[in-house]
Symmetry: C2
Subunit: 426 residues, 2 copies
């Protein structure tokens, strides 16, 4: 009774599956594998900077221990490895967030923190407040819970709580959360001022909603004074983390290495308990031995590791900014990040980042990420994201020259000027 009818999976899925779609960025990552493409598309750290030898020693030491060894391969609690949570408590205290182990849950990267917070707070039709652009992976994490998005602009000026609330109600839901990447944001590289953070806290407090602070790049500051995390600023107001409405997501992916899938959420104890239940139902716990190894690395070389990464990436940022100044046509502008991994480039309005990428790959064998994927309302397609964490310093001049040429050709074709600055200077 063989039945040749293919199954109509789309008809079987829940409504939320409609919004789970392939990511342009993840698809593009496959281009990195092609050796003749010069890629500024990725958002991944330089593996040469991983503390690989220290990691090898940590695995070996833990596994050679007669008691720790077998236990490191066993099931463990959903909250996470206690010594690692204690280390995180010290870290959080150091950055202005005194807290307790009950305020920490270990997640499989910051990404899982976003998924689980979306799962906890978003019902279909609810509104999530995000910046435009924002981290594409956050939109991907939230989308299956079927929110609509409304836009905050903490630096330039948010709308009033009433405006957000009325728009949410008109759309049949409520404002359920706000999400922000305050430091060296993916994709813009920009950092929110303390004033902007306070305005954002005013907004979420008046709206009575949680603020998800995605602090993935916080440690990668090249220069200038750190701005206090939103969570730290909120503690100054409310007096204790258990009264804060900020859920702070962090990760060891940018400071130690991403392949462990170890990050954390720091928040009010009641919320952490609910995330622990979500984790228990979702995948039981983060990898046991990986948490132990990350603890060992964090305990011994975290600060050295951050210094090494900052020293390397800051020189690459300098190289990229200098090359942009040399090779971008007039009419093109870009951000000047004080840390992180990304520069955000704005092209003349007639250009489209996705069209430009297709041409760049074909004509100049160079890659970047079109900005449109990061913008929830589909505007500002005249943008691209450039990454400087992966390519060595020597590559940026040639890379930006290639991108500059493609942009210039597109500008000329669209009747914009398009003369590279370097040609004008010559």
């Amino acid at each position: 009774m063989a039945d040749d009818t293919p199954i109509d999976w789309d008809a079987s899925y829940a409504g939320r599956a409609e919004r789970m779609r392939a990511s342009e960025i993840r698809e593009l990552l496959q281009l990195i594998g092609q050796p003749d493409i010069m890629s500024f598309a990725g958002g991944i750290p330089d593996p040469e900077l991983f503390p690989t030898e220290a990691v090898r020693e940590a695995y070996s030491t833990i596994l050679a221990d007669p008691r720790n060894g077998p236990n490191s391969l066993q099931y463990s609690v959903s909250e996470g490895y206690l010594p690692l949570r204690r280390w995180i408590v010290e870290y959080m205290t150091r950055i202005g967030v005194p807290c307790d182990v009950d305020n920490i849950v270990i997640t499989s990267g910051a990404q899982q923190g976003l998924d689980y917070l979306g799962k906890l707070f978003l019902s279909s039709g609810d509104t999530a407040l995000v910046t435009a652009p924002t981290y594409f992976g956050a939109l991907q994490a939230f989308n299956p819970y079927e929110p609509r998005y409304d836009i905050i602009a903490p630096e330039k000026g948010n709308a009033t709580p009433a405006v957000y609330r009325e728009a949410a109600e008109a759309a049949g839901g409520r404002v359920a959360l706000a999400y922000v990447v305050p430091d060296f944001a993916n994709p813009t590289g920009e950092t929110l001022s303390e004033e902007a953070r306070r305005r954002l806290l005013d907004l979420v407090t008046e709206l009575g909603v949680p603020l998800i602070e995605d602090s993935a790049y916080y440690a990668l500051r090249f220069e200038g004074e750190p701005v206090a995390p939103c969570l730290a600023l909120d503690l100054q107001r409310c007096g204790h983390i258990d009264r804060s409405r900020v859920a702070y997501c962090q990760t060891f992916s940018k400071t130690i290495a991403p392949g462990f899938r170890v990050g954390w959420v720091c928040a009010a104890r009641d919320l952490i308990q609910k995330i622990v239940l979500t984790k228990q139902a979702g995948d039981l716990h983060a990898g046991t031995i990986n948490q132990m190894v990350v603890y060992e690395i964090a305990r011994t070389v975290y600060d050295d590791q951050v210094r090494k990464i900052v020293a390397t990436y800051s020189k690459r940022r300098d190289a990229m900014l200098a090359a942009l100044a040399r090779h971008m046509p007039e009419g093109v502008t870009w951000t000047t990040p004080q840390g992180g991994m990304f520069v955000w480039v704005t092209l003349p309005e007639t250009l489209d980042g996705a069209e430009l990428l297709a041409a760049a790959l074909q004509e100049e064998r160079v890659a970047f990420v079109p900005g449109g994927a990061f913008i929830c309302d589909g505007t500002r397609k005249n943008t691209i994201r450039l990454n400087y964490s992966l390519q060595p310093e020597a590559v940026y001049d040639e890379g930006m020259a290639r991108i500059g040429r493609v942009i210039a050709r597109h500008m000329a074709a669209k009747g914009t000027s398009g003369v590279p600055r370097s040609s004008r200077a010559a």
Copy 2:
């Protein structure tokens, strides 16, 4: 402007959070830590059987390699590590499921497969068909997607498709999926006959819904011939995995070790692509180096490892069954598993497993899991689950004697007989 009002998180959560509750079982795991409690409560493998030394060597070899080392700590694709997926393809072919790497996605344990499949198929109010009892972690994974449950009994007789469909529609949804643990099920230890599997396939085919086959214990068969997985039986009907409606979830947790969090789903290519998107949005990918290490262990010692576990657990099962026969009062019955980790004990109807546990902990310092947690409709509270994977052989006689005494006392108190068989025999 300190504000002492605590945040009402319950008012902020989405409706689905209502159904994320603490697990009695996970809470009980904490009892294992108390040295004077003799525990048959856990569902965890014996860490002494982990291939710890081989794992140590695998981590060390991978990390010492100049190219593999750093890459093993890097981000990787959401589908999972290709050589591991190739190994799984060979494994699946060996157990009657010829397939391709595009039919495999690596998940963080089988648990994450259940979460993601629930996310893909269940809308609020939909019906999930499950056995009673069933794996509690599956109910936990599905609950946040707000299904109702209806009960299948593949061995004793399912209801007709029309009955399930009408009940689902009356409840305002549709039948969205069926879920089963066909081999040495958690919690009963029972295995579905091939006939029962075929009846189940008839049912899901007529209903037009996916069947989630949770095959976590499949490899742990102590004796007798393996029964073909539902997925293998479905392939005999439909001719090709890409036309099958079975989503097969497996894990290395019971055969190698759970602390890696590495499992997989094997299913039609279209469905796998959707799970990959779910994984990408959820936590990007399973731990890179852990997948590489699991591949190395699977490639070299998988079969040896399974033989070692089977040899050990089967003797412990024998010891438990013999001790149950000696110490359980008349009126108590239990299953005779051919593999896996669990025996399911049915008490006289007047007894309650949860009340019994409270007494057992206090009076006899012995632990097990009350059966009620595994039963979606709240019936059959007169059951308990006993685990035999963790305690050495010598412990079962004393352990079952303690449990037998508590049961006998409760039976006497409720006016049932309650004389232990051993006393009667003496």
